[in-house]
């Protein structure tokens, strides 16, 4: 990938790109390891699901004591009425990476980032 302007521009942008991709990928992999392990299949999810028949068949999902530090991929959990996230390492109920917003000036780099990041299908990805 060579930018038309200059070689110097190419080196600078590559270091920014490396930093950005390393940061995002390490964070995404961390989240995949945590929430996705539980929610990836109905079999793994069912191990954590309970149904309280004496409470109007309330669906309870117990994800306690799993060392979770971020919330992600709740798309598969929309039917849950009771959620137990106790004894984890959560700092927030937010699921967004506010820390990973970044500005990349070169359009080509941004497009390339999009292609790489599209591998993580569970992410909502957009250009702002």
């Amino acid at each position: 990938m060579i930018f038309p302007d200059s070689r110097l521009q190419y080196k600078v942008d590559c270091s920014i790109l490396d930093f950005f991709l390393n940061s995002v990928s390490s964070c995404l992999l961390l989240i995949k390891r945590m929430f996705m392990q539980v929610t990836s299949s109905s079999e793994s999810l069912s191990r954590h699901l309970l149904r309280y028949r004496d409470m109007n068949n309330l669906v309870c999902l117990r994800l306690n004591n799993l060392s979770l530090s971020r919330i992600a991929s709740v798309e598969k959990l929309l039917f849950v009425q009771m959620l137990d996230l106790s004894h984890n390492e959560l700092h927030s109920t937010e699921g967004k990476f506010l820390d990973f917003r970044c500005c990349i000036c070169v359009v080509n780099v941004t497009k390339w980032c999009m292609l790489v990041l599209q591998d993580w299908r569970q992410c909502n990805f957009s250009l702002v």
Binding site: F20, V24, L28, I31, L58, C60, N64, S69, I71, A72, S73, V74, E75, L77, L78, F79, V80, Q81, M82, L83, D84, L85, S86, H87, N88, E89, L90, H91, S92, T93, E94, G95, K96, F97, F100, R101, C102, C103, I104, T110, C113, M114, L117, Q122, C123, N124, F125, S126, L127, V128
Partner: protein, 136 residues
């Protein structure tokens, strides 16, 4: 600008009970997304770090009392403006929730003053820290 986002708990619109006890939550502003979960009736945030840190970097997520013209103008805001300012992030989140039960014990912020404030902000609350509210 590239923006990567993942949905948080605000997407779980059927959620009525949420246990977040024994985590690392540092302020009520970290629970801001729960304001959109209108079915939420029971919330346990006991044994976290709420009120422990004097400088909370998540506070910027909640608008300040000086910048908001509508919030803080209710009866609680008029009677106890000092408390509303002191517990502004809790005020922002709790006023939008329809909680019946709340557990906040085991946090630095917990105490008589805060419990009294919570009962004013959430008049429909029935249970606070395992104690039934008088008059219910």
């Amino acid at each position: 600008m590239v923006y990567v986002g993942l949905a948080g708990l605000e997407a779980m619109q059927l959620l009525s009970c949420l246990n977040l006890s024994h985590n690392r939550i540092r302020s009520f502003s970290a629970l801001d997304s729960l304001r959109h979960v209108k079915q939420l009736k029971v919330l346990d945030v006991s044994h976290n770090h709420i009120g422990k840190h004097s400088v909370d970097t998540t506070r910027y997520l909640c608008s300040s009392p000086l910048s908001n013209s509508e919030l803080g103008q209710d009866d609680v805001g008029k009677q106890n403006p000092g408390l509303v300012t002191k517990y502004w992030d809790a005020y922002c989140v709790l006023t939008d929730l329809n909680l019946k039960q709340l557990d906040i014990a085991g946090n630095e912020i917990a105490g008589e003053e805060f419990s009294s404030f919570v009962l004013q902000v959430v008049p429909k609350l029935v249970w606070l820290d395992g104690q039934k509210k008088l008059g219910n």
